[in-house]
Amino acid sequence: MAEMKTAAYICSGCGLGDKLDVPQLAKIAQKEGKMALVREHGFLCNAEGVQMIRDDIEKEEVTHICIAACSRRAKTDAFSFPTVAMTRANLREGVVWVVAEGTEHDEVRQEMADDYVRMACAELKKAKLPAGNPNHTHLKNLMVVGGGMSGMTAAFEAAEAGYEVILVEKQASLGGWAGKLWKRVPFKAPYAEPQETGASELAARVGSHPLIKVHLNTTVAETSGAPGRFAIKLAQESGSLTEVSVGAIVQATGFATYDINKLPELGGGLDHVVDHAGLEALAKASNGGAIKRHDGKEVKSVVFLQCAGQRDEKHLPYCSGHCCATSIKQAMYFKDANPEVSTVVVYDDLRVPGMGEDFYRSAQHKGVVFAKGKASKVETSGNGCRVNYRDLILDADNVIEADLVVLATGQVPSSGVDIAAWDKVTKEAEGGSEEAKQQKSELKSISILNLTYRQGPDIPKLKYGFADSHFICFPYETQRTGIYTAGPVRRPMDILQATEDATGAALKAIQAAENASLGRAAHPRAGDLSFPNVRLEGCTQCKRCTVECPFGAIDEDEKRFPLFNEQRCRRCGTCMGACPVRVISFENYSVDTVGSQIKAIEIPDEFSDKPRILVLACENDAYPALDMAGLSRIVYSAFVRIIPVRCLGSVNTIWITDALNSGYDGVMMMGCKKGDEYQCHFVKGSELAGYRMSKIGDTLTGMGLEPERVSTFEVAITDNQKVAGLINDYVAQLVEMGPSPMKGFG
């Protein structure tokens, strides 16, 4: 590769030229920034300006460019130079649009712009163009775990797109729960009648697909590696092991039904009380004829009790979503075989969203009775059951005698080991607890993927054991790159949703394998070619990076050094922020690229009344909010110097201490919301930053600084008004506090 040649381009459009001394900026870039080439342009983002830069790259062999113009979020189409390293000095949204109008502010405005140019030049000199991981791997096949409707669909849809699939099923045949159903809830207009499940047809198509290899009676004994190079050991029931390698994984391990014996008040355990699955078995046995109980008696009256052990803190707190439609379907089994059968559904809220409303109507049309009420007790009565319930419409206690009672129980995800529990016993086991070791091996026995990852054998769960995404916009986010969940293991759902879900999960798995093969990051920094570089010789084996990585990307090697699996890495930089000895960096984002910016600015002396505040702003939410403050021309203090960071989790405390040592008066960190409803795209960036900052209080005191000089703030992307207020308030607070005693020592 050619020698580094730097160039700075300073735009005077969009009012920059009117409000700033552009030649002075150019001089700074040249003198202080040491840019080899400095050019000014009146309208840098137009075709001519862009061509000028292109020509320099081509003819002048420029390798590093600094664009001093608008925000890095703006004009990305124009300023797209994939072959060179690039930094952006945000003079528009970051300076002229947010600094108060008027000549009395000219000086501070110019100082701000000067500093941003200095920072961008400093960053540029430390940055490299990411080259991608040279050790990338090429496997693009998938493993799908679970041969139910979700798993079969994921396998089939991926194979139809040309990807080889290994389908692993614990049972002796494909089909899962769907295979045990008599009919399924309709998924096509007119949404009026139960439909064939199609499970056996799909099983046949999967079984005969040239790109799908089915392993029955098989479980996953071990999963190691990373996207593009997962190494799997498959255990057959016979005891033999098969080793396979795949590019990505879909986990579609479904659910178990809630144990009705835990619901004795609703008759769980009584002879003539069954759950949905039990009723399906009876319906299958009747084969379309009159449905008979286990004792052979034809059922003439049946009551369905909805939300049995669901929406109930004592049992399952959630709603399984499908049960209202399932009970409607099963009531139709009776009505279709014999319209004279009395069918009553006792419900609280009848939940049949979308076209399910038509299915509900159809059942009412068939004479299924729906009673809004709450069952209090189901008991044996004669040769049947008596259901006692409160009729909420009639506001009265009521009793129904029925031959059979069906409890609509919920779905319990088959998601394997709870990582939090695993973490706990692991720590205790490491401490020598024999009991913990025993618990750990018990936990291991229920693992599904048996990941060899340091952070545990299965993928982290979101809530109630469901391995769901935490993000509204990104339903397939998982904390284990290249492994996607689909179907009821992800969240309670019906067949229609599960098949849709499995199709989506198959795409994500394909995408993960494709990305890994090019050395690119997966969502949310999709396409990022940078990857963490470690200087192992400096590593103290503190394990913070392995513990704090939100994606379990870092294992340990035999010598207990961190072992980075780049294809699992999502490039958030949490490890970099965690590292006390600063040995982890990315080509274009490192302790140095940020640190050099911090040090590049000019700090006025303590008598100038010009405090300097470093703002480290999360690039996902806080930085766009600051940008939009500019777009809305909301004014904030010109004393701040803002640096976008990939995530607050990537903030290394050295930046803070460096800043304070250099004479900054304060540091603001702006990150996403933390807590249960966290909005951090890297799970716990804000939380980690808060935690780390709480630990540097002593350092500050040692430096003779007030702890308030470092503060963390939650900023949402819509907070453009609020963020300006936060800045102004903080600046006022620091002015009140007086200049940093460190000034002048830096």
């Binding site: 509900y360 009412q364 049309h365 009775v369 009673a371 419409i393």
Partner: protein, 205 residues
């Protein structure tokens, strides 16, 4: 208990929903109710009755036969059709209410002396006599339905109104001795008798 009522009970047992579905005009719609209550809130006489339409429907489904048939709620329908046009399930509620009232009346379990029930009876008897309604005879019959002395009282209380109408030539005292009628009264009466015969054939036998 009327003979018809006995027969109905014998035939349907406690399956009142089925009885309503098969025997009451538009009764097959009852099971379509989803208990939203828009009918209950829309009825102009709602504040005065005990059971709203939606509640009546739930009672039917819960097998509350006696409570439904003896309810006076259906008799307070003014036929304003507010419930029908607002019902999200398009239940012909007005007609179902009429059907239930008619059925209760036919089984003779509807509340005795319910004023609208009486009014309806008088009205019908009036109309089938000549094929057209004779408003004077109809009014008098309404006022005298509870006996002579009550009738005089009723009449006196309405005197101002009646005089006003007479003055405006909108109540004709001469109607008492004749009045409007259809020419083919005979045909109409035969036709109605036939209708009854057909319905009897289709109903409980």
């Amino acid at each position: 208990m009327s003979e018809l009522n006995q027969k109905a009970v014998a035939l349907y047992g406690n399956n009142f929903l089925k009885e309503v579905t098969e025997r009451v005009e538009d009764g097959e719609w009852v099971s379509m109710c989803m208990q939203c209550g828009v009918c209950a809130g829309s009825c102009p006489l709602g504040p005065h009755w005990e059971h709203s339409p939606q509640k009546i429907f739930r009672m039917i489904m819960a097998g509350k036969r006696d409570e439904v048939l003896t309810s006076d709620s259906m008799w307070m329908c003014t036929s304003c059709y507010s419930c029908i046009v607002r019902c999200p399930r398009k239940l012909p509620i007005t007609h179902i209410m009429h059907g239930l009232a008619h059925y209760a009346n036919r089984l003779d379990v509807a509340p005795k002396g319910q004023p609208t029930r009486e009014l309806a009876r008088v009205f019908w008897n009036n109309l089938i006599k000549t094929g057209r309604v004779n408003e004077l005879k109809f009014s008098l019959a309404v006022y005298f339905k509870d006996g002579f002395s009550q009738g005089i009282k009723n009449l006196l209380s309405m005197q101002v109104i009646a005089l006003g109408l007479m003055k405006a030539k909108r109540l004709n005292p001469m109607e008492i001795i004749g009045g409007h009628k259809c020419k083919d009264v005979g045909g109409i009466q035969k036709m109605l008798a036939k209708a009854q015969e057909i319905e009897a054939r289709r109903q409980i036998s």
